[in-house]
């Protein structure tokens, strides 16, 4: 782990994190304060919640009559759960999956890189499934996908893409509480 010269207030654009966010998450104080979040059970729960929020949001996007899925359908409000579930997921793994090289050591770099590799492979599967669903919907004469649903679906895919590496790290329990 290299020691950066100036990281106070630095924002890593490629990774989408603040230096203070990563260094704070790596501290022993963070492990003491948020021990309950770092447990394998909490990490897997965060993964399950994220997936549930995506599925329900996607259902709301197709089912809801209003704009951006905030229609009469109850399921469309699940999209509000995508952001906190994403933040919980990142916090449960100490932001490892999104950390830049200079703020983490070689062991964490290996964990992060391996997670991105697996996430990329899972993403190809997710894209195939989504494509199949869209084709199935378009072939159906009862349901149509309008522009708003497409935008909403893109919003969900954004979180899917951003969350997958964190989900891999969380599910495998590679980053846990202090032992």
């Amino acid at each position: 782990m290299t020691k950066p010269r100036k990281t106070v207030g630095k924002f890593y654009w490629l990774e989408g994190v603040f230096a203070s966010e990563v260094t704070s998450a790596m501290s022993p104080e963070y492990a003491r304060r948020y021990r309950w979040v770092l447990t394998p059970r909490a990490q897997r729960l965060a993964v399950v919640l994220s997936v549930w929020a995506w599925v329900m949001s996607a259902y709301g996007a197709v089912d809801g009559p209003g704009s951006f899925g905030f229609g009469a359908s109850l399921y469309s409000w699940w999209c509000l759960a995508t952001v906190p579930s994403y933040l919980l997921l990142r916090a449960s793994i100490r932001v490892v999956a999104d950390a830049p090289d200079e703020l983490i050591d070689e062991r964490l770099v290996a964990i992060r890189d391996r997670a991105h590799l697996l996430a990329y492979r899972w993403l190809s599967l997710v894209v195939m499934v989504v494509f199949g669903v869209l084709v199935g919907i378009s072939e159906s004469s009862d349901t149509t996908i309008d522009g708003e649903a497409m935008v909403f679906g893109s919003f969900i895919m954004l979180f899917v893409t951003a969350s997958l590496p964190s989900m891999v790290v969380a599910w495998q329990g590679a980053v846990g509480p202090d032992e």
């Binding site: 050591d105 070689e106 062991r107 290996a110 997670a115 590679a174 202090d178 032992e179």
Partner: protein, 87 residues
């Protein structure tokens, strides 16, 4: 069963270490050693438990920080009591 990333070294040849013994002999905590070596404090724990094999550069850095030879800390053969005492 899902394989845990970073929990076990991905090598067929196990690397034995007595990092904890040497560290304690120097009166250092894991946090002290981690700060001196420039790694996360949990990484020291993983190395000591044999769940992570450090890179050559990190192993040499740890040896330098602990002011000892790298072979006093890491070995391909298990450390025995006699070898321990010899050091």
């Amino acid at each position: 069963m899902l394989r845990r990333v970073g929990r076990k070294p991905k090598t067929d040849t196990p690397v034995h270490n007595r990092l904890e013994a040497v560290r304690e002999a120097r009166g250092m905590t894991r946090a002290d050693l981690a700060d001196a070596a420039g790694v996360h404090y949990q990484t020291i724990g993983y190395i000591e438990r044999g769940e992570y094999s450090p890179s050559l550069s990190l192993a040499l850095t740890l040896a330098r920080v602990l002011r000892t030879d790298i072979h006093d800390i890491f070995s391909l053969a298990p450390f025995t009591k006699r070898r321990d005492q010899a050091r």
